[in-house]
Every structure is written in C-alpha cells, then in structure tokens.
Point group: C2
C-alpha cells in the first residue's frame, strides 16, 4: 500500500516535470514564432496548449484523489498541495505562450516586434525558458538555495522589461501605436513567465522547509 | 470534534468572503484613482494589498491544517481544495488592483486614461467589481447556474476590451505612445479581473457538482 502511495506522489512530480518540459518548449517556439513571424510555429503553440491544460486537469484530479485516499500529512501533504499550485503556475505559462503566439499570428506576415527590439525579446524568451527549466529542476533536487536564487535571476527579466519600456517611451519611437501596443503586451507576457517560475520555486522552498519562502531564514554557518 | 471541524470549513468560506470584499473595494478605488488621478487613493490601494496577501497566506495555512488534522473527503475535501484555488484568484485580483493604482501614481498629476476612454474604463471597473462580488455570492448560495452564467457576463468585458483596442488602433489616436502603453495595460488588467472572477465561479461549479465546469452538463427538465 505504501509502495503504491509513494508511486502516486512520485507520479505527481513526474507530471509537473512533463508539464514544465512542454511549457518550456512552448515558450521557445512562441518566441521564435514571434520574432520570425512564423505562422506554422505560432499555430502549433496555440493548438498545443490544450495538452498542457489536459495535463494540469489530470494532475489536479490525481492530487485530489491522493488527498482523499491516502490522507497524507507533513511533507507528503505539502507535496500534494504544492503540486496543485505549481501545476497552476505552469498551466498559466502555457496560456501566456499561446498569447505570444496569437500576437505573432495577428500580425502575420508582418513581425510584431521591430528589429531594434529583436535582441531584447530574444533574451527575454531564452531567460523565461531557462527560469521555467531551473524551477522544475529545483523540484527534482529539492535544492532550497537554488530555489531562492531564482528570484535574483528574475531581476534580469525586470531589467529587460524596463529596457522595452524605455524604448517605447523614447521620443524617437518610430513604429507607431499598433506596434507599441504589441510590444507592451509582449513585455508583460514575458515578465509573467518569470513571475510564475519564481512562484513555482518558492513553492519548492515551502515544500522542503514547511516555511513560506519570504519567511524562510537559511541556517548560516559561522565561519 | 465535528462541530469544530464544520466551523473550520465555514471559516475558510468566511475568509474568502472577506478577501472578495477587500478585493472588490480595491478594484473600485483603483478605478477611481486611475480615472480621477487621485494619488492618495492610489497609495491606499497599493499599501492595502498586503492585507489581501496576509489573508490569503492565513487562509492557505488554515486550509492545509484542516487537510492534515481532519483528512476530509468528498464535498469537504473539495471545499478545502477549491478554497486554495479561489484564494489564489482573489489574491491575484488584489495584485492587479495595485497595478492599476501604480499606473495612476506613475502618471500623476496627469491622467493615465484619456477622456474619450473614461466611460469605457469606468464600465470595465464597475463590471470587474460586480463580477468579483457575484462570484463570491455563488460561494454563499452554491448556485451552479449563477456560477455558469458569470461566463456570459464576462463577454461584456471582452467587448469593452475590444473597444479599447479599436480606439488605440484607430488612425485618429492622438494621445501618443506613452498613453497607448498605459491604456494597453489597463485593458489587460481589467480583462484579468474578469478572468479570475470566472475562474472563481467555475470552482464553485466543481465544489458543488464534483465536475469541472467545462464538463458539467446541467440536468435540463423537459417542458
């Protein structure tokens, strides 16, 4: 019985890893679709989001079944509860990737992002993908320090977001209002990817320590 | 023992009602702050958001404690699990209200929303407030039909959001890029209020029926 139970818990983690892999791929492809005005790729991200949604639904049902049947306590209970929250973060990242792809599709065959912001948005996309992968990694390693470090990496996303705003509000902006609207939304979507990755990692801190990430004070060894 | 347990469950619902009341008020005040460029009101929304965050944290801790101590099943289990998800929706609405208020603050003493969009944004604000109140109401009444109807009311928000976009992309837009950026974000924030209210109501459907809202088929009486 315990064996099956531990397997059920492990399969929740496996489901989260699978979701994070799909979402990471969706972010990467959505970014390429956006920057290259690749309609086929955009469509694949949009239609592929149902797979992420289905995974989340399935994971949620299984988590609730585990709660009902096994009535876990302590770490096991935290594992189940955090998996509910983590899956919500990942599902939302899938939605956001689909939003990016829809932006690309709406402007096709034009590009939604002007050339002078290409590099910034590319870096945002790569950073978002990396943050999601790193967050998922901390769930495997249960590395609290790594989970807390993710918050600092998110600072770079804020910086990139600010660069986009500065560019938009520069008097020399020459791409018109429609592109300004698109770029504003793009900046917002990528910022949200990072927020969700950080939120996911903070859940790992809670899972391991039982303390909320902002209340957790690491033991510091005096040297 | 059962008495205390039922009280714990009831207090989760009471916490959600309190959160929804605070969030509704924050949306209303943020909208006024935005439209009237009222800095004091904006600051009150921004600083008041910690109260919503604290309530959520508290509610979450209590929900997990109930799971650990009482090991609920069936409807009681759904009550606890949905309260976790609902509190996340409300907490996010609090963040969004603070975002609206920060936009107002950033443009103060100017107004972020030009006069010709005043009415549209006012309606969005009132609708968002109403949707949050209605969603919370369905948790009290456990009225599945009312919860499902919320989705239709959300259509009006989409319509208002489209009106904003049409206005932005009209060649006669004369408010410049900075205001276009602000108005794009405003439209996005209000749309998200409505999404979270709908998500909350869908959780009520699940709570009552045990079926996910998009899979729930109401019994229809032949007439």
């Amino acid at each position: 019985m315990r064996g099956a139970y531990q397997e059920e818990l492990a399969s929740l983690a496996a489901g989260l890893m699978e979701m994070s892999r799909l979402v990471g791929s969706a972010i990467g492809r959505a970014t390429t679709a956006l920057l290259d005005a690749d309609l086929t790729l955009a469509e694949s991200v949009i239609s592929g989001d149902t797979e992420v949604d289905d995974l989340q639904r399935d994971l949620e049902d299984r988590a609730i079944a585990v709660l009902a049947r096994q009535q876990p306590v302590a770490t096991d209970l935290r594992t189940v509860v955090t998996s509910l929250r983590m899956s919500a973060d990942l599902e939302r990242c899938g939605d956001l990737a689909a939003h990016v792809a829809k932006l690309a599709r709406r402007r096709y065959p034009d590009r939604a992002v002007p050339g002078d912001l290409h590099r910034t948005v590319l870096e945002m996309g790569q950073l978002a993908q990396r943050l999601v992968a790193q967050a998922a990694e901390t769930l495997l390693t249960l590395d609290v320090e790594a989970a807390l470090r993710l918050e600092q990496e998110d600072d770079r996303m804020d910086e990139l977001h600010r660069m986009i705003f500065q560019h938009l509000l520069d008097d020399r902006w020459q791409h018109g209002v429609e592109t300004a609207v698109d770029v504003t939304l793009v900046g917002r979507y990528y910022e949200r990817f990072a927020d969700h990755a950080v939120s996911f990692a903070r859940r790992v801190v809670y899972l391991v320590t039982g303390e909320h990430a902002d209340e957790y004070v690491p033991d510091i060894e005096p040297d």
